[in-house]
Every structure is written in structure tokens, then in C-alpha cells.
Symmetry: C2
Subunit: 543 residues, 2 copies
């Protein structure tokens, strides 16, 4: 490919007119007859799809800011040192068979030319921590203080595209959450939480006859607040309780009396996916552990405490609507309230598609075709075959203030599939050009289960016979039930068939996680660490 050719291609991306000068492209390998399937993301959807897609039939190329897949159900265990971080990571480059991988963020997609623009990320501190984008943090033309230098830009072409780039943490725009809360979605988050917990105990351990931290100060610093009463928040609270009781209380005996853990939720009950009896069992267990659960509490602001206490010790103040002006002190706030759409999805959905043959009878600029976006969740809508749906809107010229579409037709964007948290899977549009959407069942939850099943389904269909095979069999979600760990070797499990609690659920939980765990390396190491942590205690070295 000549230098001139790729420079021309670079200019196709109008949004990136301020892109760095150096950019180059990965053209499709012409020596191979295989179609290239490019996968955006390396989570449950992207990684699971790439593992299942047959490398003998397709060339697989993964684009993800992270070089690994995280086994998220065990993330809380790594954050408290029960498991070693790397035991829940699967390197993308170790997927069996030949796999291409470019570490970076998909910045834009030209569906017309079937090309993805990628900002590479080869920084040493790779993107392993959750970053909540500010209003325009992904806009490269805006200077954001502290943003790392931009990576190289590469263009990668595809034959088929699987968008599986997930979703971001939802902060509801609450003041201070983005800056001061901890998240628990990636391995860097788990590491940060671990360092913070150990550091808080260390800070409170200075000599007793000191005047630098009062008992009230220590009580604030050793208050761990978890916002969000879903399985992630509940499991983290349980694991944190285990760590403090089993490992930290023996070495900091004077501090145990200052420790408290609180779970806040806006809903009237936590663990909404469990039935009344199981949720009550969970709450009774938590009551015994002295973990407080405060439902119908609305967090309004998070800020650093005033003076040295905030600056040096990182003490936080939580403003809660129900408490009026009195703020709650905490040493750490873990945020786990759900997901919001990935900014890339918003960008893609706002692009006009100019596809050849899309609308052969009209070249009017007032007719536009876009990806169909779910107004509630912000995800891209797919049909039941997991193909991206588009919507074509015709407006009369001049009608700019009232943009009610005159006609809307639904269609499928060829060779583009969307799976996982960034997809909203619905039945395909009816063949009649009905202006109203057909009534849809409730969308599937944004869970690892859904993502993993979509990934396997899509890859198997493509293996079976390409796009034609995909269109033959709709995706059906099979609910395996939900499991939540409650600490002290206990869990609750609920599925359509049964419900389980106590150590039976725990055995099921650990067993299920173990067999679902990806590589043999980790299948071996995870139980080794469970035994080692049980016998010798969790890792408490801080580095």
C-alpha cells in the first residue's frame, strides 16, 4: 500500500480532522481467501465470540484497549487478595489458533468502506482502570488535563464486524462520583481498591497516644460505603467483610471496632432479581455480619473532606438526600449502580449511513439512514439474529424545527453484528413498512450470561455457514439463574428451576465459576489460591 493511498483513506473520517499526523492502515490480507472478522472488545461478548469463531474459516482480528479478558465474577475476590489478579485474566493473544490483536480504542467506523479507525494504546499503564468519560473526554480536539498522549492511529478493514465494546459505569451525573468513587469493572479497579483498603488500615494504625487521627476520624476512614445493591455491590461487601474479619482484624486488633460497611441503594430492596425469601436470607446474613443495608437512600454528592483529612488521607464526604445537610464520612466509596452507553455507540448512532444500494430511488439529502438506537438505554438495537438494525427517516425539506419523521423504514446493516452490553436485542422488524415499532418483549439484561450466550450463538452460526446461517436461527437466551456470594462460604442461587442458599449454593457457585473459568492455567490456579488463602490467609502486601 503506498503512502498516498492510506493518507487518502485517513481523510474519510470527518470526525477526526485533528487526528495525529501519523496514521496508517491495515488492509485486508489479499493472500488469504478467508473473510476477516473484526471484533471490537475483549469482554464476555468479544472474547467469547473470538474463542468460538473457527480460525480455519475466518481471519480473526480483535481490537480492545485491554490485552486480556477479565473473568468478572471473581473480580471482587481479587480486590480483597483472595485470588491473585492474573488468575482471572486470559490474555487475548493466547486464544488458540491464529488471532490478530491491536490494543486500542475503536474511534470511528466507516461502514461504507468497511474500515475501523483505531487509536492504539501501548502505554505501560494500559487501560486497566475504569475511566468515566467527562462531557467530551473522547473528543480528541478538546484538551483534557492529565490525558495521556494520544496513541498512533491505524485503520483496519473488515469483511464482517462484531461490535462488542460493552458499556460504561452509570454515574447519573452525580457530582464527584467520577472523580472520587472506586469502580469494580476491570483488573486495575480491583488493584486500586485493594491498595486503598490496606492503606486505610495502615493510616489508622499509628500509635495510640497520637493526636493525629481521633477515634472519630478513624471511624470515618474505616467506613466503607458501597453504592448499588445489585449482585456486584453485595458480593464486594461480603468479600470485604471476609477480608477485614479474617485477615485485617488479627493484625490491626485495635481498629476492628472502628470498621463499618454500608450498602446504599435507591430502590426499596436490594438484589431485585432474587425472590423475597432469598433476599431476606441475604439481608439476615448481612445483619449478622453488621453490614448495614440502607435502601431508599439517594446519594447526591461525593467530595473530599476539608483540609488535611481529605487531602492527606483521602477522606470522603457523602451527601445523602434523606439525611439533609449532614454528610456521611467514608474512607472509600465503591460505585456499582449499573451501566450507561459507550460513547462510541452514541457516535456511531449519530452517523448518517451512505451505503450503496440502500435507498436506490432517492438521493434526496432529507432522507437519512442511521443505526437504530434504543432511546432508553442508548444501546444499538439488533434483530433476533444479532444483526445491527438501521432506520431510514424521510423528512420534508425545510421541516427542521419539527423533526417528526414522515416515513420510517427499518432495515439491517449487512455484515455488522452487535452483542453484549452495547446491544439491545429485539425481534426483527415486520416486513410491512409500519411507522410504529412492533411490540417487543422486555430487552435482555446487560449481564455476562447474555453476552456470553450471544457470543457463542453468533460464532457458531457464522462457523456453520456465514451470514446465511446467521439468518436461519434466532438467538434464544437461556437463563442459568443468578448467583450471589454472601461471604463466609455462603451464597444464594436462583434460577427458574430451583433456589439454593447457604454452603450448598457456595459449592455450586465456586464449582460453576471454576468450570466456566477459561484456561486450564487458571482452572488450576484459582483453587490453589482458594486453598492457600484459606490456610495461610489472604495476600496483604501493599505495592
Amino acid at each position: 500500500m503506498s503512502r498516498g493511498a492510506h493518507l487518502t483513506r485517513c481523510n474519510n473520517f470527518t470526525a477526526n480532522s485533528h487526528a495525529p499526523v501519523r496514521c496508517f492502515s491495515l488492509a485486508k490480507n489479499k493472500n488469504t481467501q478467508k473473510e476477516r472478522v473484526v471484533i471490537l472488545g475483549s469482554g464476555w461478548a468479544g472474547y467469547g465470540f473470538a474463542r468460538t469463531l473457527d480460525p480455519a474459516k475466518y481471519e480473526r482480528v480483535i481490537i480492545s484497549p485491554r490485552s486480556y479478558f477479565v473473568f468478572t465474577p471473581l473480580l471482587a475476590s481479587t480486590s480483597v487478595g483472595t485470588l491473585e489478579f492474573r488468575t482471572i485474566l486470559e490474555p487475548v493473544r493466547r486464544i488458540p489458533g491464529k488471532v490478530g490483536f491491536y490494543q486500542g480504542w475503536a474511534d470511528d467506523i466507516d461502514f461504507n468502506r468497511k474500515t475501523i479507525r483505531v487509536e492504539t494504546n501501548a502505554a505501560e499503564e494500559a487501560a486497566s482502570k475504569t475511566v468515566i468519560p467527562g462531557p467530551s473526554v473522547r473528543d480528541p480536539t478538546i484538551e483534557v488535563p492529565g490525558r495521556r498522549p494520544k496513541g498512533d492511529i491505524i485503520d483496519i478493514s473488515y469483511d464482517k464486524l462484531v461490535i462488542a465494546c460493552g458499556a460504561y459505569s452509570q454515574t447519573f451525573g452525580i457530582d464527584g462520583v467520577r472523580q472520587h468513587a472506586h469502580f469494580l469493572r476491570d483488573i486495575g479497579d480491583a488493584r486500586r481498591i485493594r491498595l486503598r483498603v490496606l492503606s486505610l488500615f495502615e493510616q489508622c494504625s499509628y500509635p495510640r497516644d497520637s493526636d493525629h487521627l481521633s477515634d472519630a476520624d478513624k471511624r470515618q476512614l474505616l467506613h466503607f460505603a458501597i453504592v448499588g445493591g445489585g449482585p456486584t455491590g453485595i458480593e464486594f461487601a461480603a468479600e470485604l467483610h471476609d477480608l477485614i474479619r479474617d485477615d485485617l482484624a488479627p493484625i490491626y486488633p485495635d481498629l476492628y471496632k472502628f470498621v463499618s460497611i454500608t450498602v446504599y441503594d435507591v430502590a426499596p430492596k436490594v438484589l431485585p432479581m432474587f425472590d423475597q425469601a432469598l433476599a431476606k436470607y441475604a439481608m439476615d446474613t448481612f445483619t449478622r455480619y453488621k453490614i448495614q443495608v440502607k435502601t431508599e437512600h439517594h446519594l447526591e454528592r461525593l467530595r473530599l473532606a476539608d483540609g488535611e483529612f481529605g487531602r492527606r488521607h483521602g477522606a470522603l464526604k457523602i451527601k445523602i438526600k434523606e439525611y439533609g445537610d449532614e454528610e456521611v464520612g467514608a474512607g472509600m466509596v465503591v460505585w456499582s449502580t449499573g451501566l450507561m452507553a459507550n460513547p462510541l455507540i452514541a457516535k456511531l448512532a449519530s452517523k448518517d449511513l451512505h451505503l450503496p444500494g440502500t435507498n436506490p430511488f432517492s438521493t434526496s439529502p432529507s432522507t437519512r439512514r442511521r443505526l437504530l438506537r434504543d432511546p432508553r438505554t442508548g444501546g444499538i438495537v439488533t434483530d433476533e439474529y444479532l444483526r445491527a438494525r438501521t432506520t431510514t427517516t424521510s423528512t420534508k425539506e425545510g421541516e427542521t424545527t419539527k423533526t417528526t419523521p414522515a416515513t420510517t423504514t427499518d432495515d439491517i446493516l449487512d455484515d455488522v453484528y452487535i452483542i453484549g452490553d452495547c446491544a439491545i436485542s429485539t425481534p426483527s422488524p415486520s416486513s410491512t413498512n409500519n411507522a410504529k415499532q412492533p411490540p417487543t418483549p422486555p430487552p435482555l439484561p446487560q449481564t455476562a450470561q447474555v453476552a456470553a450466550q450471544q457470543a457463542t450463538h453468533l460464532a457458531k452460526r457464522l462457523n456453520a455457514g456465514g451470514a446465511a446461517a446467521v439468518a436461519q436461527k434466532p438467538f434464544k437466551f437461556r437463563n442459568w439463574g443468578t448467583l450471589t456470594y454472601l461471604g463466609s462460604w455462603k451464597a444464594i442461587h436462583q434460577s427458574e428451576a430451583d433456589e439454593l442458599r447457604g454452603w450448598v449454593a457456595w459449592v455450586l457457585w465456586r464449582g460453576a465459576y471454576l468450570t466456566k473459568s477459561m484456561s486450564w492455567r487458571n482452572k488450576l490456579l484459582v483453587p490453589v489460591y482458594w486453598v492457600v488463602s484459606w490456610v495461610f490467609g489472604r495476600g496483604i502486601s501493599r505495592f
Copy 2:
């Protein structure tokens, strides 16, 4: 202790007149009859001593910036992902029996009042990376950009003091080493090296038809330079070679041809502690691996490459005396050329000691007593019982330009012991007040073996009967020999009794390390990781 009392005490430290306002002190616990032994440092010397000292007889208090002991012989293995970082760490707080621990740096010692001033370190990114102090980085009155905020100041009193705070990496003041070289002395260093190696391969892996990195660029970035041909440098080169050949070459097949590893040393031969035949065996092995060893090469400067290549990719340029103006490119430089004295030691050695009864016949200001410092290494000289030696110098008043001491007497500083890399152990002074030092045997090398044996010896003597027992039996170093790993399951071993090479030495090496490894937790985990890494490959996730 009242607030007034400790504020008075704080003012005793003249060097710290700009210390933060909040400071408080840990007085000796008056409820216990046990003597308090304070240990500075948690390396081979400090940790080994604390583990051996009987908690039934002494109150043990450790002060160290790190909350753990690092099993340094396996540090290179963690830096390439063969072992998990935490498998070579032993948390200080897990030493059996009650042990006090304050994470921080000893900033100053008042030997008269037997009190240590400590700057605490409870930061989340605790001091796990080697930092080479600049000209005055430890002076709190000087603003250094990027320096983390100072911790709280606490004063800790002692009955007996064991100084085991080690030494710093020696950079010989060579321009750019402090800023751009990697060191390999702590777990944070190993982590940084690991991220850098993986990042370099990632950066060079962008599509082949790109123009962003030429083959020459890749050859520079994938050149790994190791400065210092001692066991640490040689072992790291060997481990890095194993990682690249076994794990990175299969996933980056196009890059293997660009990789090179070079060991530079100023001496005419590397591994000077091994005899000719073993050193030749090592060199022959390296030649087969295509690791270049360049002896009699003098590094003069290290800098970032110009432009984007340096700024974005961190490419380095090495100026070597023998090559004139032509610089050598490298992606990473690992520095391992030896040790220099800890700045605390210099500070302590420059203090005048005003001890009651030291010099009862003279109150003249021209008579001063100081710790005896070895002019060559900068360490504090001890007698053969590991007690700190002092020197009393009488000068005639007015003789300030020519400071030749008129009389020098040597003495021992009671209750202060010095072990490990910061000590220079020599026989005790003769009882005659001879102005000349008695002829001394060559000082012991600054190795883990010496530190560990000194630690055990001193702790056992104190257990046996306090200071009196210490003075009964001099420390004798027993050389167990030196082992160096050469990669690919091979090592060389040399002691006075035998020499070994090949896989026999490897078995001995791994076996010896394993049994010397500290806790049962790690005795179990290290072989598990050896097997797992051998069967499934090393960990290559980057986070």
C-alpha cells in the same frame, strides 16, 4: 503523653525545622518489662533479624517504607512473569508473634534520647519502586517537582536499635540514569520492567504495511540493554531471554528477528566472583542465546531519543565512551552496577554525638564524637560484634582549614547495631589509643547472604543474653557460595568446596531458593508457578 511533651521532643531534631506541624510520638510502653528493639528496614537484614528475635524477650518494632520483605533472588523471575509478584513477598505484619510495624522512612535518629523520627508512608502507591535520590531529594525543605506530599511525622523511642536500612543503587552520577534506567531491587521495579517489556512488543506489533515504525526503529526498541555484569544483571538477561524465546516469540513471530539483548560492563570480565571456567561456561551459554556481552564498555549518558520516537515510544539513546559520538538505541536499560550509601547513613554519620559520659574529661567544643564511616563505601563501620563504632576527634581550636585530627579514639555506641548493606564490619579497635587504624581484612561483600547471616547471628546473641551475650561471640561469615541462573534450566554455582554447572546447578539453585523461601504459603506457591509457567507459559497480561 501530653501534647506539650511531644511538641518539645519534636524540637530536638534540628534538621527537621520545616517538618509538618502535626507530629506525635510513640513512647515506650511502660506496662511491659521487655526492652523495645527497633529495627530500621525490612530487607534481608531487618526482616531476618525481626523473625529471629524472640518476642517473649523483646518488644519488636519494625520501621520500613515497605510493608513486606522481598525475596530478591527471585525478583528477576517475577519481572518476566514466571512467578507472580506476591509469591516472593512476605508481609512484615505476618511475622509470627507480636510485632509492631510503622510504614515509613527513618528521617533522623537522636542517639542521646534514643528516639527515631519517622516520616510515615501510607500512600496507596507505597514505596515499592527504586527511587534514586537527587542531590537533595530527602531534604524536606527543598521542593522537588512530583514529590508526593509528606507523611505524618512520628517519634519512636527505643532501647536497642538495629540499623538495617540497606543501600541505594549506584549510578555514579551518570547523566540520565536516574531518570531513564530501570532498576531491579524492589517489587515495583519488577512490575515496571514487566510492563515495559510487554509494551515494547505491543508497540512494535502494529501492521506490517505501516510506516510508523521502520525496521530500524523496531530493532532499536527491541534492544534490551543491561548495564552491570554481576549476578543480578546476568540473571535478568537470562530470564528475559527465556521470556522472549518461550512466550513472546510465538505470539509476535514477526518481531523475533529484531530482538537483541546486550550486557555492558566496565570490567574486563563479567561475573568476577566465578572462576575462569565457570565464567566461560556462562559466556558460552550466552553466546548460544545470542546475548551479547560487552566488557570494558563505559556508559557515559542515557537520554530519550529525539522527537516522537522518544516521547511516544520511550526510545532511549545510550552514549558509550568506546563508540565515540555514535549512540546505541534501546527500548529499555536495566541498571545493576552496585550500591551506594543510603542518605540516612550519611546524615547520621555527620551528626555530633553528645552522649553523657562519653568524654567526661573534656567539654571543649573542639572535641567531637561521631559514627565512624568507611570513606570508601560510605557505610558505618561496626566491630566484629556488629556494634556501631564511633570516632572521637580532638582538634586544636582555630585549625579549621587543615582538619587533621590531633587525636582519634575509637569507641562503641551502646545499644546501636548495624547490619546488612549499610554496615562495614571490621574487627574491634585495639585497646591502645593508636591513631592509626589496625590493619583490617577486606570488608564483607554487600550481599543477601552476609545480611541474612548477620541478622541471625545478632538476634540469636540478643536472645541468649542481651548486650553482654553479643559481646561474647564475634560474627563469622560463612560463604555458602554464589549461584547464578543462566536461563533454560541452567545455572552455575561456585563455593569454596565445589563448583557446579548446567542443570545440576539449576536443581540445586531452585531447591536452595525454595527451602530458603520464607513462608509455607510461598514455599507452596513458587513451585506451583514454576510448573504452571512451564506447562502453560508465563503470564503476559499487561495491567
